[in-house]
């Protein structure tokens, strides 16, 4: 994964391979950052990006709405209004009601709560897993690496959607936490590939060598020296993985393979609203809207983070664009020339 195609980082959907690999693993110690700390610099650059800021505000608002709205909403998601079946949005039912008189606002907020929680948990689990697996494979190389890459290839042939659909009878009627765990367990592959590629570079750095010669245990080197140096990449990927996890969760729940009744998620709400999307649009549109707005906000924030963290990206130094691109191109050509076989392997 040393070959990347992301030059300016200005709009990739990083949930796909190669998207975020251009983030330099060599963050610290650039001669340019004199007194401002790196964190400050990143925050400042992020704050300069208006779209990303809006995205962040939207995410915070959605989380707040999902968890705080029961405090002020007129109806709870368990209440049924027997006088109002399938009424359109109004003052008492902000998002209308369903055919059994459930308040759609309360339901959507409840579903949002579940979807956001699952998304956050799965994002954390899958990113941690990919950091560990990718760094281990990259650090040890050899057969460990080959085994991991083979597993990644296998999981690409066997989409995780398929695996989870097959496994769904096993967690039917059990807690949704099992579903979270399984979803996390099957969505680390792409990030792990990128982490592995970066570990190849980090492995050769002086401080890692020094630690090795001092006799530190390999897992300690991985945890203390390699993973922290990919923090920026991992933060970006964790962000984008949250969005991907929400899409995966809602997709599986849509078919009844994920969150099970009586729990609701945005996916189950969209599924039950789909048949009446043309006749009673509020049943379909409100949960869909919240889903799309959340995922969009997450993707925009992920993109903004990439721009803020990656010194070569568009959001950073506009004046040096051309130079940065040239340097990048040189590095890439070198990597290509060194590893044509590796580039071919990517296709698998």
């Amino acid at each position: 994964m040393t070959v990347t195609i992301d030059s300016d980082g200005s709009g990739e959907h990083a949930n796909t391979p190669g998207g975020s690999a251009s983030v330099s693993p060599v963050d610290a110690g650039a001669p340019g950052d004199l007194r401002t700390s790196r964190a400050k610099l990143v925050v400042r650059r992020f704050a300069r990006n208006r779209n990303a800021l809006i995205g962040l505000v939207v995410i915070v608002l959605l989380y707040a709405a999902a968890f705080l709205s029961p405090l002020f909403a007129p109806w709870s998601y368990t209440e049924l209004d027997y006088d109002n079946f399938l009424v359109s949005p109004s003052g008492s039912h902000w998002f209308g009601t369903s055919k059994v008189g459930e308040d759609m606002f309360a339901l959507v907020m409840r579903g949002l709560q579940k979807s956001l929680t699952i998304g956050l948990l799965v994002g954390l689990i899958s990113t941690s897993l990919s950091a560990i697996v990718g760094a281990t494979a990259g650090y040890f190389g050899g057969w460990v690496d080959r085994a991991m890459m083979w597993l990644v290839d296998l999981l690409l042939v066997l989409p995780s959607f398929l695996i989870l659909a097959i496994l769904s009878p096993a967690f039917k009627g059990k807690t949704w936490l099992i579903f979270v765990l399984l979803l996390g367990l099957f969505s680390w592959m792409i990030t792990a590939r990128i982490v592995r590629g970066m570990t190849f570079t980090l492995r050769e750095r002086e401080y890692v060598k020094a630690a090795r010669f001092m006799g530190q245990a390999p897992w300690r080197i991985i945890v203390k020296h390699i993973v922290p140096n990919m923090a920026s990449l991992l933060i970006i990927d964790a962000t984008v993985n949250v969005g991907a996890a929400v899409i995966a969760e809602t997709g599986l729940s849509y078919f009844g393979f994920g969150v099970q009744p009586p729990d609701v998620s945005l996916g189950t709400l969209i599924a039950s609203g789909t048949e009446s999307a043309q006749t009673f649009p509020w049943l379909f549109l409100f949960p869909s809207m919240f889903l799309v707005v959340f995922v969009l906000a997450v993707n925009v924030v992920g993109d903004g983070l990439r721009d803020a963290i990656d010194p070569n990206s568009a959001g950073g130094r506009r004046k040096d664009r051309r130079k940065a691109r040239k340097e990048y191109q040189d590095a890439k050509d070198k990597a290509r020339a060194n590893a044509p076989a590796l580039a071919g392997k990517e296709a698998s």
């Binding site: 195609i5 992301d6 030059s7 300016d8 709009g11 990739e12 959907h13 796909t16 391979p17 190669g18 290839d153 296998l154 690409l156 042939v157 066997l158 989409p159 959607f161 398929l162 695996i163 659909a165 097959i166 496994l167 769904s168 009878p169 096993a170 969005g243 899409i247 809602t250 997709g251 849509y254 078919f255 393979f257 969209i270 599924a271 789909t274 999307a277 043309q278 649009p281 379909f284 869909s288 889903l291 799309v292 995922v295 969009l296 997450v298 993707n299 925009v300 051309r322 691109r325 040239k326 990048y328 191109q329 890439k332 290509r336 044509p340 580039a343 071919g344 990517e346 296709a347 698998s348």
Partner: protein, 324 residues
Amino acid sequence: MIGFLARRLVNYVILCLVATFLAYLLASLTFDPVAILMQRNPPPPEAAIAAKRLALHFDQPIPLRFVHWLGGVVHGDFGRTVTDHNVGDELLPRMGVSLRLFLVGVTVGVILGVILGVVSAIRQYKISDYAATVFSFVILSTPVFVIGPLLKTGALQVNDWLGTEYLKFTGEQTPGFDGSWLASLGDRLRYLIVPTLTIALQQIAYYSRYQRSAMLDVLGSDFLRTASAKGLTRRRVLFKHGLRTALIPMATLFAFGFGLLIVGGTFTEHIFGWYGMGDWLIVGVNTQDANVVATVTLFVAVLVLISGWLSDVLYAALDPRVRV
């Protein structure tokens, strides 16, 4: 190069087999079709359940069952469903439905995606570039099961506007349609438009993002400056020298895009009432049928194999450095 492609092919075939075995194993471990049978009211007699167990080969260990099933597959026998139908009988029609959807969707998606990406790169920071960026961001954040119903609503609007029911979106052809093959083709086309659009939109958004940045890379490169310096026309520089190079990374992405396509296809088939392979997977899980699930997995794995191998071939064709 032939050695390279042959090695890749062998690797893919092994992957396919392992993937199918894994799906079969997981399905056999989690599925319990006999339990569904026992829930029937009145409960079926003990002997019937025992017979069912025997018919499903539950007396054998799972790997043996898999080998038995795979042996049948080699001879074109995909086993029997839980309800004792022949899996193979349903396979061909369903495959046809899915392939029609996938092939048209992916062709439209790749071509339009590449064009959109190249145009945004050439006209970087122009309004068209921003519009394309916003379009792909929104589409990539919108799951297929939201796009689908929205397009349905849109199609209803179009039909209203046209005054006739031109766009159809339930099923894949008018039931009992009778006419010449040309009229039949036209009829199928009317059913094909909206579902294909559902799939193609995602593909366009996905490929255009990558094509844009790959093209931007190339636009800033020295060899392109050399090409224009020696007096080639802009068109020749951009397409002969630029696009060809910018397509190389796309070839490797092709295999990844296929996963997106298959999952998207499952939703699309479900939403538009197409009885394809994706729909079959849902049916297979709901009836807890290991044979059906394994057959669908095999289909998916073979498709990914073909696309992966195709992208290797494409890579070799585009990048002379691989041809050694």
